[in-house]
Symmetry: none
Subunit: 202 residues, 4 copies
DNA sequence: AATGAATGAGTATTCATTCAT
DNA sequence: GATGAATGAATACTCATTCAT
């Protein structure tokens, strides 16, 4: 409540922001703590007043993502739209927010791929968990649609749901890595939507 | 071909093989040159008789993949199957060969994500190139199908083709990282095939 | 004496006391200024209102010891006991007060042994001086005893005195480091006294 | 057996020797690995080919001391001299070898006193063990002498033995720290011998 | 006077690469 | 050709001290 606390939280955010910039530019291994400090306009030691280690810094970044992600899951669960529309809406939303996280894509890959880091940070498990939950939410919607008769009855809900998740992840990764032009990406969005719609419809 | 040259090439392959094992087990950053030497049953210095650096070693591995990949592109180009079947066949083939490269998935992510390595090795460009070429091949088949009237005429061939590539990459990455059970993955395969078939058909 | 001054001196003492506790628990190198501040229930910066550095803090502790030590020297000089009894009494007193300083023994060793600190603090010299003065006091008493005929005339007073000082220091150090049981240590005291008495007597 | 192994052992010794020099000059904390490397005329990294850490280096030094010390214990145990002479001989021997280890005295104190190091290296325990064993050896000799009637029967053998050990340690420490002149130290030796002889005799 | 947020100098350790044998 | 001993650049982290409030 005291102004000090406000400052502390503000500064913590500033440091995370700076870290995001630097990690996005140089990758995790390629970024030195002093780079991040410089980007934040503070001294190297100051970072350690707010984070205990470089690892904790990356975890803080991922916590931000986790939060956004929980939002998405909640929206899916609470959606009053018909199942098919809810799924398509969620896909569209992911694709539309893509620019917010695109800079972080390479860092995600780097950490995700690195046995050492991924395991010490518990990232692999965390990611696995994310995808499973999103997949389960899609599966529930598919089943609901099948019960309502709006989604094709022969579909294996779980298998398709998990496939959708992998697919969308692939599309997001390629966006972050190869940065297609907005006009082209918007065409891709349309094709994806058409594909998923036709796949699910009766 | 003097016996010396045969030896050289043979040993080169053995080293690449050992590197594959070790990278698959410990990741790229996590593997020391001495680990690879030990796995290959040779001295650390000997690796440098065949490769100039650790980077060159990883490049050699990727060249192996490139070769496999060229095969796939050639098959696609030369395929006498109807376009729709050719595309589905290619997807199926990628999914069926997945185990061959799955161990390397994390390493690919690690290198791909690491700005430092990815750029110094020219990986980003190389990968971009791969995906563009595969995408172009799919696009050509789609157009051909549209001309023949077997593929939906409203589809934007290039956009869908590039989307298919991202999707399939996502599915392969998730396979390598999360290792679904064979029975579940085979259901995913079926759902993917159905989805793509319905998306492309009239 | 304005109340401010009283406060200052009081607080200074409190800080020294806290430092004693913390140094005793964690050693000199192992104690952070913030530990001491916390123990004293004040802010880190406040210590620097009373002491210019961590070194000065340890010097203040040693000044306390010096004062106790001066007392001992004065008692020795002014003692009206026969020389032999004075020496034995002084040894006994040192052994009996051992618990007061025992916690500080490791810190003394740490500082004493560390070239860096020991020299920058002038500890080596200071300690050397202490021991020389105690030794000189013993030597004077031995000579007096020899003149009175109560102490063995063949003894080299200075050499024995200096040896007594080293011996007693060794015993105090071992007490502080290994903490013998009180009952065993009291037996050691008796044996030491017997030894010194027999060594000095005719 | 191969020349490489001989070199390795030789070099290991050279590094220990260099470390001894540097630690003796600057203390443990005050010595940087690069100082030791420079003293040994090798690269910094080379030290790590022979020792895993700075700690391991200091342990190697102490192992040398341990070995010398075991010799002393063995000599004491196997001595065919009368008990009194055996004890006095052992004390004399310790005092005569004093110059060999004197340079290491401050380092011993530094490590011994530093909670952090002493505990992580297991030094405190090791030292305690040394002193207990020497003390036990003296106690056995005292008891033997009492049985033979050459040593005063009222002496508490264990208490005196442990006191002798502390005493001699004090004398050795003061030698290493204050470096008395050889002529004075030799007088101290004589006084110590006389003292111990008179303390033990009937 | 009191505080504690900010600072940055200082250092052990790893490991790709070299090169003498 | 093969080796592995030697190398040193590169970097996260700690903590005494400062100084704005």
């Amino acid at each position: 409540m005291s102004p000090k606390i406000v400052d502390k939280e503000q500064k913590r955010l500033e440091i995370v922001e700076a870290a995001l910039q630097v990690f996005g530019r140089k990758g995790y291994q390629g970024s030195r703590m002093s780079d991040i400090a410089q980007e934040a306009g503070i001294g190297k030691g100051t970072i350690y007043e707010y984070f205990n280690s470089k690892d904790e810094l990356i975890l803080a970044i991922f916590e931000g993502l986790t939060w956004e992600y929980e939002q998405l899951l909640n929206q899916l669960a609470e959606s009053s739209q018909p199942p098919l529309e809810a799924i398509l809406g969620s896909l569209t939303q992911l694709l539309e927010e893509v620019d917010e996280y695109a800079d972080l894509t390479p860092v995600c890959l780097e950490l995700w791929g690195s046995r050492l880091l991924s395991e010490s940070l518990g990232l692999r498990e965390k990611m696995s968990d994310w995808f499973e939950r999103l997949s389960a939410a899609y599966a529930r919607l598919i089943v609901k649609g099948q019960q309502k008769g709006t989604i094709h009855p022969e579909i294996d809900a779980k298998a398709l749901a998990r496939t959708l998740v992998s697919m969308i992840d692939g599309i997001l990764l390629h966006y972050g890595l190869f940065r297609p032009s907005p006009s082209f990406f918007s065409k891709q969005e349309k094709e994806l939507e058409r594909m998923v719609r036709r796949a699910l419809q009766l």
